[in-house]
């Protein structure tokens, strides 16, 4: 009955349906878990099949309601969308597993799972949206859900951080909505592809409108994606959330906005306009700031989760750097880094969460000797950290390699050097943790490995770091075709 040709909406709908049903199930925890994980798995399978299909047949246009563009809403799945959807579904499924079997940090699991499902559904909808306003609706759902999974922890810090996140996020939404209004005003369309064809004609007539609109778009998405000067909300928000939320937020949510922005850039604005305006150079400047500031702030942190949050600021900088350099290989690197960072940052957050749960220690300075007591957890943490630094053989190396190659292709030697310097800075704050954990003096704290169900997602992610580090060729066709979308 179910034709997988409907996957572009079914992925979203299945996740939404599960989200709607879970509150009805009440306290039947087993059923709730089954529905939660089942929906995630179904989304993953559909996403996989959809990706295969996109690779075989090219871009999919799914007209919702049967109304073809420009009248109806079209879900537009190109390689970039398929890739992003796959990454989202995969990593979200693993984090969902952790949310079920990991340490319990919220009282109402049902509510928590509902929010996670809504968040993932919105993210899936966002990366596949072919219509600007549809994109906006999904942005709002994901923003609201993302804030809620921070506030659900209920501590003073998390509520305060989530309020701040909400205010800035609302500002960003306002910017995006304004920009959509301006674009609609000068094109009369909301479908991205029609906007592009119309803009070619009308852009000259309304240059200031277009410029403002793009500026608002960049700022709006920049706030949500924590691009460098707009990252101020991120460290508090990500570090005060429950562990699974932190992983989800840092690993996926910030990146989804980058994906959406880049999709708008090539689908709605068109490369001509993107190349005409100095957006690229803005990206380059801001990501340089992100690389430096994120690392420097991360170095002085003693709270494990805060350190990881600041590191996210840096890594977002890498992705923007890849897109800003705009040579095919740099874009491939940026796109790969979306996956790689999703995997390794989730890994680090989950491992840190497990460590905090098993030992009660939040401070990095007290991690000494814990590595010997919890070897598997810390080995996984080490793998993630090595990937962050960019040790070859791990996933993080590949994306850095690509971005650095792309920097040379774009004749910008300085950014290749910048990446290396930033790797060094990463090493300077990740390695001391590992060293003190494995070789430091024993602390008095008792610590044991968690049970296998809790450890499993971490180990799976650690294996994935190696897997994508050694066999990136699996993703390369997708990534290369994605780069072709940008550089035609």
């Amino acid at each position: 009955m179910l034709n997988l040709g409907h996957a572009p909406v079914l992925i979203v709908v299945v996740l939404l349906l599960a989200a709607f049903i879970i509150p009805l199930l009440g306290k039947r925890q087993g059923v709730v878990n089954a529905v939660f994980l089942g929906a995630g798995a179904a989304a993953f399978i559909m996403s996989l099949s959809m990706t295969m299909r996109v690779l075989a047949e090219g871009t999919l246009h799914y007209p919702v309601g049967g109304w073809a563009a420009p009248y109806g809403i079209v879900v537009l799945v190109d390689v970039f969308a398929a890739y992003s959807s796959l990454v989202l579904a995969m990593v979200a499924l693993i984090i969902s597993w952790f949310a079920v079997y990991g340490p319990r940090e919220v009282r109402h699991n049902g509510v928590y799972f509902t929010l996670i499902l809504l968040l993932t559904a919105a993210m899936q909808g966002m990366v596949m949206a072919g219509d600007l306003f549809n994109l906006f609706v999904f942005i709002e759902i994901s923003s609201l859900a993302a804030i809620a999974i921070i506030a659900i922890k209920g501590t003073k810090e998390s509520v305060e951080a989530s309020f701040r996140y909400l205010v800035l996020s609302a500002l960003g939404s306002g910017g995006v909505l304004f920009s959509i209004a301006l674009i609609f005003m000068i094109t009369g369309h909301l479908n991205m592809e029609y906007i592009r064809t119309t803009l070619i004609v009308t852009a000259e007539q309304y240059p200031l409108n277009l410029l403002t609109s793009i500026g608002l778009m960049v700022v709006g998405f920049g706030v949500k994606a924590a691009l460098f000067p707009m990252h101020v909300w991120l460290p508090d928000a990500h570090s005060n959330a429950p562990t699974a939320s932190s992983a989800l937020l840092s690993g996926l949510v910030v990146k989804v906005y980058i994906i959406a922005l880049m999709r708008i850039a090539y689908l709605a604005l068109g490369l001509e306009i993107f190349a005409l305006l100095p957006i690229r150079h803005l990206f380059l400047a801001l990501s340089t700031g992100a690389l430096m500031v994120g690392s420097v702030f991360a170095m002085v942190q003693d709270n494990a989760k805060r350190l990881l949050a600041f590191s996210t600021v840096t890594q977002v900088g890498y992705i923007f750097l890849g897109f800003g350099l705009f040579s095919p290989r740099a874009i491939e690197g940026g796109v790969l880094h979306i996956l790689n960072h999703a995997v390794m940052k989730s890994l680090l957050f989950l491992a840190a969460g497990v460590i905090i749960h098993q030992t009660g220690i939040k401070k990095l300075s007290q991690f000494n000797g814990l590595g010997r007591k919890m070897p598997l957890t810390f080995a996984a943490f080490t793998v993630g950290a090595m990937s962050m630094v960019g040790i070859p053989g791990t996933a993080g190396f590949i994306s850095k390699l690509y971005i650095a190659l792309g920097a040379l292709d774009a004749d910008m030697l300085v950014f290749a050097v910048l990446i290396l310097v930033s790797s060094l800075l990463n090493a300077a704050y990740y390695f001391p943790i590992i060293i003190s954990a494995f070789f430091g003096k024993d602390s008095e704290k008792e610590a044991v490995e968690p049970r296998l169900a809790m450890l499993a997602p971490i180990l799976v992610l650690a294996l994935m770091v190696f897997f994508f580090g050694l066999f990136p060729s699996l993703m390369v066709p997708l990534v290369q075709q994605t780069a072709l979308l940008f550089v035609r």
Partner: protein
């Protein structure tokens, strides 16, 4: 004293508001209005109701289960209406050719639109009331939720 006047007033006001809301809801496809505005108006009437009787009868407070079913029922109707399209071999949320669209201008026309409007109306009414109540007294007791 005050309560009596309030009660008298509300006895007239609440049904009137609800009637107005229902009109807006049912005529969403014919005249201005629709699920969201109609639902909000009905929800507002419930809010009025709960405010007026708040001190006299705590039991009048909308039950958790009821509001939940309103909430979820509304969106489920929506999603199910959408899935019907897929089952019929068309696209998600297809109206034309799947639902009877009827004759334009009549009350029972426009197929899915009316159905979905009613669903949304129920959902929004529940949501508005629920949000208001939670903001007014939510989180007061440690485990007052269930």
């Amino acid at each position: 004293m005050n309560d009596m006047i309030l009660e008298m007033l509300s006895r007239i006001l609440i049904p009137a508001t609800q009637l107005f809301g229902a009109y807006i809801l049912f005529h969403g496809h014919l005249s201005p209005g629709g699920g969201f505005s109609g639902g909000t108006i009905i929800g507002a009437s419930f809010i009025l109701y709960s405010l007026v009787y708040r001190f006299t009868a705590q039991k009048h407070r909308l039950k958790h289960e009821t509001s939940l079913w309103l909430e979820v029922g509304g969106v489920l109707v929506y999603v199910m209406a959408g899935l019907v399209g897929i089952v019929f071999g068309r696209h998600f949320l297809t109206n034309q050719g799947v639902f009877p669209t009827g004759e334009p201008g009549r009350l029972w026309s426009s197929g899915m639109i009316l159905l979905v409007t009613l669903g949304i109306g129920a959902k929004v009414a529940g949501t508005v009331l629920k949000l208001f109540q939670e903001l007014l007294e939510g989180g007061a007791e440690p485990d007052g939720h269930h």
